[in-house]
Each structure stands twice: as C-alpha cells, then as structure tokens.
Amino acid sequence: MLEIQNVHKSFGKNEILKGVDLSVDKGDVVVILGPSGSGKTTLLRCINFLERADQGTATLGDLKVDLHSASKKEVLAVRQRSAFVFQNYNLFNNKTAIENVAEGLIIGRKIPKEEAYKIAREALDKVGLSEKYDSYPSQLSGGQQQRVGIARAVALNPDVILFDEPTSALDPELVGEVLEVMKEIAREGTTMIVVTHEMQFAKDVAKKVIFMDGGNIVEEGTPHEIFVTPKEERTRRFLRRVLPGEYDFEI
C-alpha cells in the first residue's frame, strides 16, 4: 500500500531524518513512537510534501514519486490519495464543520456539491458530531475540533491517513473521545500511520509499532515485540521513561 524508502531531511546543518524506511500494508495501523525531536513529525510531513525531503521515494499503490523532486502534479496526486490529521487540528477557521469536511471533496476532488455534503454528513455522523454540522471551529471544544479533523480526513477516503499526535493538544478528559473515534475507523479497515504518545492505543490497535530516535528507526515489530520483548537498549530506556513502573527489563 504505502512504502517509504531512504528518507533524508536536514534543516540547515541538522540532519533530522537519516534514511528512514517504512512500509504499511492496506488496512494496517502503524504507530510511531519516539522521544521529542526524533523526527516523527518531519517524517509525516515529508510523506505529504508539507516538507520537501532531501532524498527518498514513496510508493502509494501504483504511484511512485521522488520525495525530493516530485512535480507539482505528483505532489497533488499524493495529497489526493492521503490525508493528514494535525496536532492542533488546523480546521479552516472561516468554515463550519460540514464545510471543513466538504472543502477537499468539492474543490480538491471536484465532487458535486450535493454528493460532497452527503459524504461530509456521514463522516461527521461517524465521529459523533451529528449535532454540530453548522458550528464554526470557534464554537467547538478541542475534542470536537479534532473529531472534525478526523472526519475531514476520513471523508476523502484516502489510501492512508497520517496522524501527528492527534491527542496531545487536548485536555486529558477529551483524549478518550478522540481515541475512540480513531479505534473505530481503524476497525473499519482504514490504513493509518499514527505518531502518538498514547501507549495503550499502540498496544490495542497497532499492527506494527516503530520506535524512532535521532532520525533513525531503531526498532520495529508487533506491539508485543516492542512493549514486552524489546531488543534494543534505546527502546527499553524510552519505554522505562514513558511507562515508569510498568517495565523492568532484565534479560
């Protein structure tokens, strides 16, 4: 479904991504873990061309593009087949919930307005916002805004949805509702790459967990392999820090 190869990216002299490979099968959820500054956001942004990689390729189904030198048309094609859920939601402030969801369908995909609004309503229903079609982002709580953000991504029916810490800007009591929605769309077979610090979500939902540090993928495997039998010392150290008390690796 999605295969990323050898992604390099520097900001100035700082090499942030040092040759990252990643593959996701259709319908799978891949969770990326890693300490702050390890390049997780940058990786997702490179995949969606919000950042230009210095090197690397992406294969999305039958579409193969160079992450450094892709043409405008190729960039648009990749964006047409993927969707992004942002840490700070980034809903269009001047548009209502339903307009937010319909925008990419009507303008990006040229779907007739009637049909786009029908799809948008279904997507908002799915994330539990049937009452909020006509609310502006400023009228919604953080959790509701992020659910609109997820509806906006789901409505596009993309090959893959990229989530960048979708719950980390939320008040703790609002995290649950967003994770619930993400679990639901994962159950429905949506292909997802999720950067998150929610370890329970990773354990419950991920098909594959990737641990990144210093611009490299240090270790990857099933949730069991990463959380129960991690091989790398760096992975263990990270888990001990984020899940104190839960881990005492003595091998």
Partner: protein, 239 residues
C-alpha cells in the same frame, strides 16, 4: 443676517457646490482602491515569501511612499509622468497629445501609487495573522496554492485587514482634497473657487469640513457592517 459673522445663504449654496465635488472624490477613491488592492496584495506576498528581487523593490517603494508627504508625491509624479510618457511616445512615434490628458487620469495614477504602498503593509500584517497551519491543512486536503488562498487564506486575512483597510480608505478620501493642487474638480477645489468670488472662505471651509465628515462617517459605517459580516465565524461565543 447680512451683518452676521457668517453668510448663511452662501454657506448653504456652497454646501451644494462642495457636494457636487463628491462624485469626483469618490471616483478617484474607488479607482485608486481598485488598482491598489490587487497590487498591494501581490507585493505583500512578495514580501512575506521573500521573493528575491521584488521583495527589495517593494521595500524601497513602500518606504519612499511612507517617508514623503503626499503633496510632494503629487507634484513629483505630476511633473515627471508627462515627461516620461512623452519621451516614450516620441521614441515609438506614437502621436498622443500627452499634455491634454485630463487631470483625472493623473489623479488615478498618483493615488493608486500612494495607496498600493500603504496596502502592502496592511496586507502584510494581516497575512501574518493567518496561521501557517491553515495553508498546510488546505494542501493536505488536495487544494492548490491558488485555491487555498482564494477560499481559506484571503477570507481570514481580510477580517484582520478590515480596520486598517477602513483607515486607508478614509485617508485616501481625505487625501483626494490635495487634488486641488493639480486642478482636480473635487470638493475642496470647487468650494474654494466659489469662495474666491466674495472672499467667503470661512463658509467654504465649513462646508468642506462637513462634506468630508459626512463622507468619512458613512464609509466607516459601511466598513463596520462589512467587517461584521466577514467575521461571522469569529463573533460567536465558544461552546
């Protein structure tokens, strides 16, 4: 009445004379805005995105306009433009009576030139209030840059630009009074010409004063209404 400090009859008559200059003042304002809005916006983009040569050019242009009195800009452009145009026309053998051109055309050019520079700064600061995440979100749902600007960025940018746009428009209306220096048939010139006959300058000035006041208050009110409509999405209380 006759012996009073103010000649009421003249005051009232001249009020309508001054009023007859309103169409020209408004025409110059509207045309200058129509030309300056797109140019100002485009140049603001070159500043924000730091487009190599244009960025520097815009900087110089803006500080030139902001650092000199409008009346001087009027005199300079009014004397230079015909010379430049004449030599261009001469070179290409175009037979054009450059010195018979209506001053209205000069007014359009001069006030557009001035207003565009003001608007560069208005749009530049307004664009900065729109979070970069808005453009990225638009990209992520498959919009092109042009579509993103048209549908997401510009509508939001306009809301924060409105108060400054209103100020710029009102300043422009008031600045058209300087058109009298190039014999533009606007409010100030018409009233002053009327006053010349009987030296009723005080009455004429009062009339001019009132006419501009009415104009500017009306424009300000219209901007308020428009701003309210544009910022609908903000006005609502958070849930």
């Amino acid at each position: 009445m006759n012996s009073s400090f103010i000649n009421m009859e003249f005051l009232i008559d001249t009020f309508f004379v001054a009023l007859s200059g309103v169409p020209i003042a408004l025409l110059v304002t509207v045309v200058a805005l129509a030309i300056a809005l797109p140019i100002g916006f485009f140049l603001a983009l070159t500043r924000i995105n730091e487009i190599p040569i244009l960025n520097g050019f815009t900087k110089v242009y803006v500080s030139f306009v902001r650092g000199t009195p409008i009346i001087i800009q009027i005199f300079v452009l009014y004397s230079i433009l015909p010379l430049v145009l004449a030599s261009i026309f001469e070179r290409y053998n175009i037979d054009f009576p450059i010195y018979e051109v209506n001053t209205l055309w000069y007014a359009f050019i001069i006030f557009s030139f001035n207003t565009a520079a003001i608007l560069v700064e208005v749009f530049r600061s307004a664009l900065k209030t729109v979070n970069a995440g808005q453009l990225e979100a638009a990209y992520s749902v498959g919009l092109t840059t042009a579509q993103a600007y048209r549908r997401i960025i510009i509508p939001q940018m306009l809301v924060s630009a409105m108060p400054n746009l209103c100020t710029a428009t009102i300043n422009l209306i008031k600045a058209t009074s300087l058109g009298y220096a190039i014999s533009l048939q606007e409010i100030t010139l018409k009233a002053k010409v009327a006053a010349n006959v009987g030296y009723n300058y005080l009455e004429a000035y009062i009339d001019i004063f009132i006419v501009y006041l009415i104009l500017c208050i009306t424009v300000e009110y219209l901007f308020k209404v428009f701003e309210k409509r544009l910022s609908r999405y903000k006005a609502v209380a958070t849930a």
